[in-house]
């Protein structure tokens, strides 16, 4: 579904990613774990087309999207839940969700998708006319995920969904992610919370200082000491 080969990413003259290669197959949930500054957000933003300064190959369903401009990447079936949620604060919940369905492929069926989202997140239905900026952190996270789902993606990118949330909310968010995965959407999850990430993934990659240092099944990584040492800097 998603194929990345030898990806380098830059911020000006500083290199953030070196030779990153990974795969995500349809229906899978794959995690990217590692400390901050490891390049996880850069990786995800590069896939979504938000981060442009890069070299290498990114292919979605075999189609090379490396040179595709940002606003066309989503048409290939990718949707992102950005780090920090980044909902549109002055727009209503309803507007935020509808915006998610902007792309041509998602717009015709937006009402049906909307109902699916409300089913998954009843809270959002209750607050449909409220300004997104006035929602709590957890609700904003749900909104961001719902917005991404409105695009009817085949690959969902999630960047640190647990960030800044109370544990109860994190539970709810991860349940939602599992429900989405059950609908045959491939999920690429970037997380700081190693435990939870490995719990819901089939495979994972460990990123450190811009490089992939390990890639294995979730089970294997959970047992290995490598993750602990990398994250704690030992």
């Amino acid at each position: 579904m998603l194929e990345i080969r030898d990806l380098d990413a830059f911020y000006g003259d500083a290199q953030a990613l070196w030779n990153v290669s990974l795969d995500v197959h349809s229906g899978e949930t794959v995690s990217i774990i590692g400390t901050n500054g490891a390049g996880k957000t850069t990786l995800v933003n590069s896939i979504a087309g938000i981060h442009r300064s890069r070299r290498g190959r990114i292919a979605i369903d075999g189609v090379d999207v490396t040179g595709v401009p940002a606003h066309r990447v989503c048409e290939h079936g990718v949707a992102i839940v950005p780090e920090g949620r980044r909902v549109f604060p002055h727009m209503s919940v309803y507007d935020n969700l509808c915006l998610g369905a902007y792309r041509a492929g998602a717009r015709p069926s937006y009402r049906d998708t909307l109902n699916e989202v409300y089913e998954l997140f009843p809270r959002l239905a209750q607050r449909r006319d409220q300004r997104a900026g006035s929602l709590s952190g957890g609700e904003q996270q749900m909104l961001a995920i719902g917005r991404a789902m409105m695009a009817r993606p085949r690959l969902l990118l999630l960047d640190e969904p647990s960030l800044g949330l109370a544990p109860v909310m994190v539970d709810a968010v991860f349940e939602a992610i599992e429900a989405i995965s059950a609908r045959d959407v491939a999920v690429l999850l970037v997380e700081q919370d190693v435990e939870r990430a490995l719990d819901i993934s089939s495979r994972a990659y460990l990123l450190a200082e811009g490089r992939v240092v390990a890639g294995d099944t979730a089970e294997a990584l959970r047992r290995s000491d490598e993750v602990r040492r990398s994250v704690l800097g030992l």
């Binding site: 290199q15 400390t35 500054g37 800044g164 700081q192 994250v231 800097g233």
Partner: protein, 672 residues
């Protein structure tokens, strides 16, 4: 920073050469004024046509106004659209006081200066106080002021009342010749004074402060530059000059009416002239004025007067697109080709008397020279990739050779151990330096920090770590004065810093670096550091500051690159510059916000070495870092934040094996 314009480094060369050249400039300046004066004093003897004198008078008026604009808007980056306000106030002051009430003409010049100063003070005191005032809002605000004043003049019969005011010719010494000569000479004096002030200001402390404000205002604040004061100073100076120029203008037009002095074309002209010539340098407006006035004159003379404003519009639009920093920068970069073209083309047309009017030849020469100046895009300096290696070598060499270079430190200067070994404190932690009590900071509903209480002692090297979103950068912002605590108090070196503006906190002894380095783009590496010394806790004059800057550059290993501009540095070098600049404020506490982001392993090792040297020189350091392996090596103490509260605090080994810490990083069910 959005909203305000920035200048490329080449446009504002303030190298050591300029300083020494100051005297040369003064002499040249006096000679130029004298030469220009003789054109009038000996006009009849030389057979110098009166028409040219009139043209020069117009140029001098605009030089005054454009220079006035440049002192605020060019130097500081705060664009003003309100130049007409000064011209109007100046003109009406003279018109009413002298024209209507026969008060001494020369006295009215003083009164206009005073009135404009008050106006500028009022506008600045209000506008510059507002932290959130964006550059565009300031520009529109300044646009409104002339409208208000114009309306005021129209309403009040004591001022104008809609009739206009006649300004008769004042008495002047008969030796000077005709009225036109007198007008010329007085304009020459005013313009000369304006340019002299602009020149002086640029070289002075205020000029440096304004350049820093233009490049990165909040960084300047953090270094101790009192931005409000300097901006106000520039605004008032601009006003005084503009006002006196306006008074003389009243004399020139003879009849003052609202439309002629509060006209929108005035800010248009000064902006085009300054932008064309080169804002941020005192000579830029002069070039711009010469070009535009000549162009206008020639257009009118050839019957194309209607096209004047079109030409101006095209010039402005074209400039913004092609050469936003103006002609002076291009001239400075390649003086010989440009000047040669000018001389050749002018001579080629003048000598055989091709156009009937020599001015056309001069204009043609200027146009040709401009084309040459704008012709090839400037080549960008290649970012040196191998420099990092040079820098590390410089560090170890300097360290081995001159241990005395590091700042005075009573304790033994320990030779740096292998980078991989954990740090041992050079001195025992001393007095309490930082005290936070019950500090909390909220952003709307988000609780970035909650009830943080901690102390930091002199001599410590504290690693501030924690998962993403734990509040580390917020804490740094609070300690540096960029943020105010929602609750609680912070004391540094015995002073309560809660509520102090950043430049005051800097004077207490706190310095910080930013994750994304923000050097002053228009200054060399050495001057960037010198800025910190000039405005820091123990301010020094420029020359001394530059010498001391060298020392700090040696500590971080950038001394070989001292005369280079920041745009030619790679990321690591720019981070080192950040550190050197922070160090130069002679801080007691140095806050480093992710200073190692984006570096390769060799650069990281180098940076660690530099930090050790800085620490040894007696500076207390708090470093926010994600790279835990680095923090483990470097820090004497680690504080872990999680979700805004302090989770652990103490010896690195102990902290990193604390189950709570491991849980925070890895998740709930991970075990040690």
């Amino acid at each position: 920073m959005t909203g305000r314009s920035t200048e490329s480094p080449r446009a504002m060369r303030t190298s050591a050469r300029d300083r020494a050249g100051g005297l040369r400039y003064a002499v040249a300046f006096v000679l130029a004024i004298a030469a220009l004066a003789t054109l009038s004093l000996y006009r009849e003897t030389m057979g110098f046509p009166m028409f040219y004198l009139v043209l020069l008078t117009t140029m001098l008026f605009w030089v005054t106004q454009a220079t006035s604009w440049n002192i605020l808007s060019g130097y500081s980056g705060y664009f003003s659209f309100g130049q007409a306000a000064y011209v109007g106030v100046g003109a009406y002051t003279t018109a009413v006081l002298y024209g209507r009430h026969q008060i001494n003409f020369y006295l009215t010049l003083v009164v206009s200066a005073a009135l404009c100063a008050v106006l500028a003070l009022a506008v600045g005191a209000l506008a510059f106080r507002l932290r959130s005032l964006r550059g565009e809002i300031f520009a529109l605000l300044t646009l409104a002021v002339p409208f208000i004043l114009a309306a005021l003049a129209r309403i009040r019969p004591e001022i104008d009342g809609g009739q206009g005011v006649v300004v008769p010719i004042p008495p002047f010494p008969a030796e000077l010749g005709r009225f036109q000569d007198f007008l010329y000479l007085i304009n020459l004096l005013v313009a000369g004074a304006a340019v002299a002030v602009a020149f002086g200001m640029q070289q002075s402390r205020a000029g440096w402060a304004l350049a820093a404000i233009r490049d990165a205002e909040d960084v300047a604040e953090g270094l101790g530059v009192a931005t409000f004061r300097y901006k106000l100073q520039a605004l008032v100076t601009s006003g005084v000059i503009g006002g006196v120029g306006g008074s003389v203008f009243a004399l020139q037009i003879g009849f003052v009416a609202v439309e002629s002095v509060f006209n929108l074309t005035i800010p248009l002209f000064v902006i085009v002239m300054s932008v064309l010539g080169g804002r941020s340098h005192w000579f830029g407006p002069v070039i711009g004025v010469a070009f535009i006035v000549l162009l206008q004159d020639r257009l009118t003379a050839s019957g194309l007067g209607d096209w004047q404003l079109i030409a101006l519009g095209v010039v402005l639009a074209g400039l913004v697109i092609i050469a936003p920093d103006g002609l002076y920068a291009r001239l400075r970069a390649r003086p010989v080709p440009v000047l040669a073209t000018f001389a050749l083309v002018t001579a080629a047309l003048w000598i055989p008397d091709l156009p009937a009017e020599p001015l056309d030849a001069i204009l043609a020469g200027m146009l040709a020279a401009t084309a040459v100046a704008l012709w090839r895009p400037r080549r960008r300096g290649a970012v040196p990739q191998t420099r990092a290696a040079e820098t590390s070598a410089a560090v170890t060499d300097a360290d081995a050779g001159t241990p005395a270079v590091t700042a005075a430190d009573a304790s033994a200067v320990a030779r740096p151990s292998d980078a991989a070994k954990p740090a041992t404190p050079a001195t025992e932690p001393g007095e309490v330096l930082v005290e936070c009590r019950g500090v909390a900071r909220y952003f709307g509903g988000v609780r970035a920090l909650e009830d943080v209480t901690l102390t930091i002692r002199e001599g410590e090297l504290v690693g501030l770590v924690g998962p993403n979103g734990s509040g580390k950068t917020t804490l740094v912002g609070l300690l540096s004065g960029n943020l105010r605590p929602t609750r609680g108090s912070i004391r540094v070196a015995g002073h309560e810093i809660t509520g102090l503006p950043p430049h005051r906190v800097a004077h207490v002894g706190v310095a910080r670096t930013y994750q994304i380095p923000r050097p002053f783009a228009s200054m060399t590496v050495r001057d960037n550091v010198a800025m910190a010394i000039m405005f820091g806790r123990s301010p020094e004059p420029l020359a001394a500051a530059r010498r001391d800057a060298q020392r700090h550059l040696e500590v971080v290993g950038l001394d070989a690159l001292a005369d280079v501009y920041p745009s030619a540095l790679n990321l690591h070098q720019r981070q080192l510059l950040e550190m050197a600049r922070a160090l130069a404020t002679d801080p007691k506490l140095l806050l480093l916000d992710e200073a190692l982001a984006g570096l390769n392993p060799a650069e990281i090792d180098n940076a660690v070495e530099v930090l050790r040297r800085i620490h040894r020189s007696g500076v207390t350091i708090v470093i926010v870092e994600h790279l835990l392996r680095v923090v483990n090596q470097l820090a004497t103490r680690i504080i872990v934040l999680d979700r805004g509260t302090c989770l652990a605090d103490g010896d690195p080994r102990a902290v990193m094996s604390d189950p709570a810490v491991i849980q925070a990083y890895l998740g709930k069910r991970a075990h040690a």
